[in-house]
Structure formats: structure tokens, C-alpha cells
């Protein structure tokens, strides 16, 4: 692995998240925490692999606020600490962030957030840069994989120098892109943590808070002056260009490419900002002086756009001529779903420049799209997201679905965050009706389960995964008990944090390094709160269905743990199990009186169709031999190989 093995000055190919990890190692990071979430998961995953070699402490924490608090304590004790999380994680830890900005740090303290424009694997397009402004802490936005590494290293030094946590904002395209990175040396000097009883580490209250707030402002003035000279801000183009693109993050490379495609190098200057909060006002002034028009290119929110406009308004006093601004507000920078949504691309910049500068440009012949459609259109059917072959969630949702049908009346199913969020889609029989953030399933169920007095008298099922349970469900579970909410809480325990790449959690018995650690059993926790706690294997379909059915028949708070290990936990482990196959003599194909129940309803990707024989067939390359299809085939045509 390049991150841990490569020597200094070597040029290697790294993924954005790996570059962050490498940057932290080059900065001599001591204490790393995080909670998995796309696109940031690989940062802690990578650091965990380097932990032993470089003597770094790395943990997957139970959630993001605990992660930031633990790392904060390390930083307050003089260590260098990093916390990594996805954008929604910043929400979770924001409570602490809004106070630790005031209490400050001794060691370098870096918060890395991974935003997900276009919400590839997230339930929001939240732009976490706003947190940097809200907390008033320095913000860095890498534009390349190299910068991801270099900025991380810088962020530690800078944080230590200011005595203030620094934030680094990544986005999916950068986190998961690979680029060539020139490595620096890894710092391995030993550090001692010290937190003396003489010290106070607090954001205080009343006058102390106000005083610390003032200190924070001073730190940020200091930060701004340092940012004026930062090597992460750069300008390309004619010194007196009247048309300026201001950009940050991924927008930098897109802008360079778009300007080149449109052959505008002589007309358009590009100011690339790597330090976007606080903004380097003097640098901005320098370039606003020669610009008559400015186009903002940035991922998601008009963060630069708004802050530069404020800065420009102040500069008017200094005689800077009025500038015409283009961006999201003017609707020139917009994605498929409108301005401020979706992901940036070269096309976004090209279209914006074409609109503003009235340029005609066509990268390909107009008939291209038609020819593509003609040539490959029929080979690319749209496909809905689906549970993997052998996924226990398919069985769990079938049981819930069936129990609701048995019940015969409406049931509200509140979903949560994990692979099982797909319970909203046909692969989960569209059972889930709500989906927000970690823990929100049980949280909203507290409301749905307490509205009988207002006429909403339907059984409520809240669904949460095992990792989500530890992360965010305990307060809601306690609240449900305390306030007598009627909820059937179904915990889908597959013994891993599957969606983000199979990270361990408190129930798995191992920590981030793969070392053995005490298990925290879900049922033990639940039993201390709820009297009716059941544990069932979802592959025992009838039993699981019966239990869900019984639970929704009765009022009160009940817990059903549907426990079956994710088959991907043990790659190829299923090969030990007897094979499952379709007895094509028995399969009645199109004549099946249930219209191909196996593939139509169950939609397991392992269940395919033999177009020659017109019978069902199992794709052995992905079948995990879970036997579920053998249970549900009305004809008994799906067989499990007999073993001796």
C-alpha cells in the first residue's frame, strides 16, 4: 500500500481519501477517529491499516460527535488529531464543533468532511462548508488529490499555530478519484499527551464565552492574513483579464478544461481558491480590480459566491468598480435539477460560459446522441438499485411486507440509513415510507406512534440497522419507552456496517484495527429498556413474518432483532454451503401460475432467466446459496444440493 510503504518524493497513484490519510501521516498524526460514511470512509480505513506501523491510534467511533469529542480531547492534550466523516456526520458532531471552536486546541486538530454532491449515497446534498462559516473556523478545499494530501498536512500545522480546529472539505469526485501524488516523509516522532489538572478546556459560559468568542475572531483575523499568502490559492490567465472565474475544489480542473475547450485562455482569468474561509480579502481585491465580470464555479451551495459578493460590497468603499457576478443566483451555473444541485462537471462550466459570453460550441455532432441510442440504447435497460444476492434484508423486508399484508390494514414503516434504506424501493417491496438521517426512523416513529389521540391510529414499525442502532437509536428508544409510543422496532442486524464498506461496530467484537474488543450486545441494551425483545433469523421466513405480525397486533414498544450475517462479511464463505439450483424439469417457466414469483417478486440478482429453455436459472457466480428462493418457489423447483 502506497500510503504506508512509499518513500518520500516518490510519485504514486492515490485515491483522494488515501491522500488525506497520507497527509495526516506526513503531519505526524497521533489520534484518528471517525464514523463510516460515503465518501469519507476510506480515510479511517486507510489510517487503520497504517496504525500499527506508525504508532497511530485509530478508532471507528460509535458516531461522529463521539469521534470529534474524543479527537478533541487528544488535540487538547497536545496530540495531533483527525476526525473524518461524511457530510451528515458534520450535523451529528456540530454540537461539539460549535463549542470546541471556542475552547481551542493545543495539538493540530483537523476535521475532514466528505460532501456528496448529487447525493450518490446520501440523503442530502448538504454543503458542509457552511459549518466552517457557522463555527468560524478555517476551511480548506482541495482541488486535486495532491492538494488533498498537502492541505491535510498543512491543516495540522495551521491548526496548531492558530490553536483552532481546521476543516477540510472533500467531495465524492475527489475522495474517490485517483491522482498522482508526490509523497513527503512520514513523521514518526513520539509525542506525549498531557492534560494537566491546572488546565481549563471549555467554551465557558457568559462573559468567559464572550471573551473566548473574541479570541476566536482574533484567531480568524490571523488565519485570513496567513491565507493571503497561501500557496493553495493561485491565479492563471492574463493579469488584466476582465472576465474572471472564481472557483474552489473540483471546480478548478473543470474550469481549466472548459476555458481550454472554448479557447478562452486569452480572455478569461481563473482564480482558484484553496482557502475559502476566511476569504483572503486582499487577494480578492487584487483580482476584483481588473475584473468586470466574475463567474463562480463551486460544488453545491453558492458559498464563495455569497462571501465574495459581501467582500466586494465592502471593497466598493475602496473605489473598486462594480462587478457583474454570474453563478447560481443568476442561474448560469446549474445542474440537471437546477442551480445549487447535483454535481459540477466540465459541461456545467462550458454551458455557463456559453450562456454568458454568447458562444456557440458543440463538442460532438448533433446526431451523436441519436446514434448512441440507436447503437446501444436497447442494451442499457434502466435498473433499480437492488439488495445483493443473498442479502438478509430481502428476507427481512419480505417478512415485514407479508406481515403487513396479513394485517390487512395500513402500517407506517419508518426507514433509516444503511443498505436497508433500499426498503423504499421495489427490492425491499417498497415497505419503507420515511427516510432521513441516522436514527430518524425510530425518532419519527416516536411521533407516528403517539398520534392515536389525533386520529392517526396505525401500527408503526421503525427499521434500523445494527450500526445505526448504536449510532443514533438509543435516545429515541428511551424516549419511546418513556413517552409510551406504540412502536414495533425492527433491528436488521447483519453484523457489520455493510453499506460503507463493512466497517466493524460495537457489536462485531473487533475494533477498527481488526483487534478483538468487547461486544456490546443489542439485545442486552434493548432488554434493559423494553420487555418484549425477540431475536429471529430472517431466513426463517415464516417465523420472522409471524413475529412481525404479532408485534403489529399489539400496542406498546416491542423490539424484534432480525439477525443474519451479511454474506459479504466472509467473501466466498458461502462456497462451503450446498449449492442451490433450479430443477428445470420442475420449473414451469412462463406457465408458473405465480408469474415467475422468484424473479418478479424477489428480484434477487442471483435469480436469472434462461432465455433458451424459458425457465428460471440461478447465476452461480453471484448466488450465495442462502436458499431463500428454494423456500419461496411455489413449484418447489428450486433445490438445494443434497450433501452426504
Amino acid at each position: 500500500m502506497h500510503v504506508t510503504n512509499a518513500e518520500s518524493k516518490k510519485r504514486v497513484l492515490l485515491m483522494g481519501d488515501e491522500a488525506i490519510a497520507r497527509g495526516a501521516l506526513e503531519a505526524g498524526v497521533n489520534f484518528c477517529t471517525g464514523y463510516p460514511g460515503n465518501p469519507a470512509s476510506e480515510i479511517i480505513d486507510t489510517l487503520a491499516k497504517a496504525a500499527e506501523k506508525f504508532g497511530v491510534y485509530v478508532e471507528w467511533s460509535v458516531n461522529e460527535i463521539v469521534a470529534l469529542e474524543a479527537a478533541g480531547a487528544a488535540a487538547a492534550s497536545g496530540l495531533r488529531a483527525l476526525t473524518a466523516m461524511k457530510n451528515l456526520g458534520a450535523d451529528v458532531c456540530s454540537d461539539f464543533l460549535m463549542t470546541v471552536n471556542l475552547s481551542g486546541t493545543k495539538g493540530g486538530f483537523v476535521l475532514v468532511t466528505g460532501d456528496d454532491p448529487l447525493a450518490h449515497s446520501t440523503t442530502t446534498e448538504l454543503d458542509t462548508r457552511n459549518y466552517a462559516r457557522l463555527a468560524d473556523i478555517p476551511l480548506l478545499e482541495p482541488a486535486t488529490v495532491q492538494e488533498a494530501k498537502d492541505m491535510t498536512k498543512f491543516a495540522f500545522d495551521f491548526s496548531e499555530e492558530l490553536g483552532l480546529i481546521c476543516m477540510l472539505r472533500m467531495v465524492t469526485r475527489l475522495s474517490h478519484s485517483r491522482g498522482v501524488v508526490t509523497l513527503g516523509p512520514v513523521q514518526t516522532q513520539k509525542k506525549t499527551a498531557e492534560f494537566s489538572s491546572q488546565e481549563m478546556w471549555t467554551s465557558g459560559s457568559s462573559s468567559i464565552t464572550c471573551m473566548l468568542h473574541s479570541v476566536l475572531h482574533e484567531k480568524m483575523r490571523n488565519a485570513e492574513s496567513k491565507f493571503e499568502e497561501s500557496e493553495f490559492n493561485k491565479y492563471v490567465g492574463r493579469e488584466d483579464a476582465e472576465f474572471l472565474i472564481m472557483t474552489s475544489g473540483t471546480g478548478w480542473l473543470y474550469s481549466l478544461e472548459a476555458v481550454k475547450l472554448l479557447n478562452l485562455q486569452n480572455d478569461v482569468g481563473i482564480l482558484k481558491l484553496g482557502t475559502t474561509w476566511p476569504l483572503p480579502t486582499k487577494l480578492l481585491t487584487t483580482h476584483l480590480k481588473h475584473a468586470k465580470e466574475v463567474l463562480f464555479i463551486e460544488e453545491t451551495d453558492p458559498f464563495l459566491e455569497q462571501n465574495v459578493k459581501i467582500a466586494a460590497a465592502e471593497l466598493l468603499v475602496d473605489g473598486i468598480a462594480p462587478v457583474k457576478f454570474y453563478g447560481q443566483k443568476s442561474n448560469h451555473v446549474r445542474g440537471e435539477f437546477g442551480a445549487g444541485t447535483g454535481e459540477l462537471s466540465v459541461d456545467t462550466v462550458v454551458k455557463a460560459l456559453m450562456g454568458i459570453r454568447k458562444i456557440e460550441y458543440s463538442p460532438r455532432k448533433s446526431c451523436y446522441a441519436e446514434k448512441v441510442q440507436e447503437t446501444v440504447g436497447s442494451y442499457l435497460p434502466p435498473r433499480s438499485m437492488s439488495f445483493c444476492a443473498g442479502c438478509p434484508h430481502r428476507a427481512s423486508f419480505w417478512s415485514i411486507y407479508k406481515a403487513i399484508k396479513w394485517h390487512g390494514q395500513e402500517v407506517i414503516v419508518a426507514g433509516d440509513i444503511g443498505c436497508y434504506s433500499l426498503g423504499l424501493l421495489p427490492t425491499g417491496f417498497s415497505v419503507e415510507k420515511t427516510l432521513h438521517c441516522m436514527g430518524a426512523g425510530l425518532g419519527v416513529a416516536n411521533g407516528f406512534g403517539n398520534m392515536k389521540r389525533f386520529g392517526l391510529d396505525k401500527p408503526v414499525i421503525a427499521v434500523a440497522g445494527d450500526s445505526t442502532f448504536y449510532h443514533a437509536c438509543l435516545p429515541a428508544l428511551i424516549n419511546a419507552k418513556w413517552n409510551k409510543a406504540n412502536i414495533s422496532f425492527v433491528i436488521l442486524d447483519n453484523n457489520t456496517t455493510a453499506m460503507t464498506g463493512h466497517q466493524p461496530h460495537p457489536g462485531t467484537g473487533v475494533n477498527a484495527l481488526g483487534d478483538s474488543s468487547p461486544r456490546v450486545h443489542i439485545e442486552d441494551i434493548c432488554k434493559s429498556i423494553v420487555s418484549d425483545v425477540r431475536v429471529v433469523d430472517p431466513f426463517e421466513l415464516q417465523n420472522a413474518t409471524q413475529n412481525v405480525y404479532e408485534m403489529i397486533q399489539t400496542e406498546g414498544l416491542k423490539v424484534l432483532i432480525l439477525r443474519h450475517e451479511c454474506p459479504l462479511n466472509e467473501p466466498r464463505g458461502w462456497q462451503e454451503k450446498p449449492a442451490v439450483y433450479v430443477d428445470q424439469e420442475k420449473c414451469v417457466g412462463d406457465e408458473c401460475g405465480c408469474v415467475r414469483f422468484c424473479s418478479r417478486v424477489f428480484k434477487c440478482p442471483g435469480m436469472t432467466w434462461d432465455y433458451v429453455k424459458r425457465k428460471a436459472r440461478i447465476d452461480e457466480s453471484i448466488c450465495t446459496r442462502c436458499r431463500l428462493c428454494a423456500d419461496i418457489c411455489p413449484q418447489g423447483a428450486i433445490k438445494v444440493e443434497e450433501t452426504t
Partner: protein, 338 residues
Amino acid sequence: MVKGKGAVIVEACGLSEGNCYDFCPRTRLDVPALDQFVFGSQRKDVALGSNISVMKARTVDSEIGGVAQYGGVVSALVAYALDVGKIDAAVLAKSEDRISGEPTVARNRKEVLECVGSTYLACPTVSKVWEVTKREKGRFCVVGTPCQITAIRKMQSSPNVRTSLKSQEDKVSLLIGLFCTWALSPDVYSLISETVGGARVLKVDVPPPPANIFVVHTEDKVFEIPLDKVRRFIVPSCNVCFDMTNEFSDISVGAVEGEKGWNTVIVRTNTGQELLQAAHDAGFLEVRPLEPERLNHLCEASLTRKRRVLAEKDSEKVSYLLTTDEDKSRIIGEQEAH
């Protein structure tokens, strides 16, 4: 099947005539076609359906006789068939409370004895048959109510159904039918608990007419509930049932009116005939002719039910039933046929 709810369509297939439609005893039931499939001929007896003989019988096995509801013939036939290896397993209804039954698979005499006695709520026997024949090879016997036996016959006659249900060797090879007048909805539990309080129910019985009572035995007492109070809980589908004596079974068994400890037996197929004969020869059963007045009474009871169904004003409810005009006029016109 959901306890207390009957059948539920979990995932609508979009077919107007899919498996559910094909198998359900309350969808299109072509009586002449099913007669032809099961018996190879049309029925001559419109009152009792195709049959070879009608008699009365009782078990001579004291172990069975001691716990049987009536004559213990069903348990004796199943136990015998298992004993001699005619069948490998039987799908029966087992009851914890003598009111509702859970389907179960009996593989030996002991397990058969655990299922002795009547139940009064519909039991999802067919789903158990479906499940067990899918997983296991062997010869199966099913004991069921008329609607259950009809469903299995419909499955067996369906062109698409898997062969494991077909009535051949190594499949569902023996169907023992129970006489049935109705099943109750689980709501009846409220009436029973109102009547007996918290006492444990040991046995429930509906003695043949003219008793007109629903009898509940507890440890200390026997409660008699007027049958009219119980009739309120009859499953609506039973009101349009045409078949009291289980007309598509191999052999049908019911109570004998006015004579405790005996069963009425209608032998319908050669399979039923051979089984009864063999069980008798092996000393499992005692068989006697059914008295003509009792036979007449049975036929009249069956015809009365059929007439009531044919006279159903809401024709939609009985539109499932396809029978010949000739049979219909015979049912309506036939008086004291036997």
C-alpha cells in the same frame, strides 16, 4: 392463510387466473370436471357425491378409541396406513385448545394420537401440504375439511402445478375427508371465554342434531351454549359451501347421528376402499352397515345444504359453483332418494 383472517393475497401477480385462482375451492369449481378427474366418471349420487359404499365404523384400538371424538376411524386409518408403510407421513390438524388447529406432519402412531379430536376453526392444512411436499419426497396422506380436500384436488388437476401434489405413488396419495358443516371465526373465543371464564377447555363438541348445542368441556364442568349463539361466528364462506360430506376425498368420515362412538364412512375411490378393507382385516376397525334411516337422514341433510346454496339470492356468492342442470334439478327435486 392468516389465523383469523383466512387467505390474504400478499403479492398480486396480475393474472386473472393464476395459481390462487386455480386452487381456491371458492373460485370456479367445475364439479363434473373434478368428478371426472377424481373418479373417472360422473356422480350418480347427487346427495353424497360419487361413492362406492356408505357404512358405519369404529376403531377397536382402545388407545385411539379412548380419546377419539366419535368412532376414531380417521385416526385408526392414518395410524394403520403409517404402521404398514402405505404412507410415509400425514398432514393433520393438532390442537392445543381443542378449538383451533395448527397443521402438523405426523410420521408415526404417537404423533397421530396427538392430533385426535375435532377442531372448530379453519386450519391452514393446505399450506402445510404445499410446504412439506415441496421439501420432502414420499407418500403423503392429508386429512381435511371439504374445502381443503377440494383445494388439493384442484391443485392435482391443474396442468401447471408441480407433480409432487399429483395423486400418484410417492405423492399426495391418500385424501381422508372429514364431514363438515361450518368453521368458526376466532372471534368465537370471546364467547367461549365469557362462558367458561378462565377455565381450561379440554374438549369442544357439536353433537349431531337435534341437540342444537355447542358443548364446551372444562376440568370441572360441561357448558352448553345454544348453537344459535355460536352460528354468529360462522365463517361467511361456509354459508355457500355445497359439500358437507367431502365429496372429492378417497374416503369421507363423519359422526353418526344418534349413536355415540361410531363414525359414518363414505368410501369413494378404490384407494379408500382398499385402505378401509386392509385396516379392517388388520383388526384396526369394526365395520357395520349404516342403517337405512340414518343414511336417508344423512342424504337429506346434505341435500338440504345443497338446496340452500342453490337458493342463495346473491348469485354472485355461488357463482363459483358449476354443476349440471340435471344435477341441480335432481337436487331440488329429489326427495328421500335413498
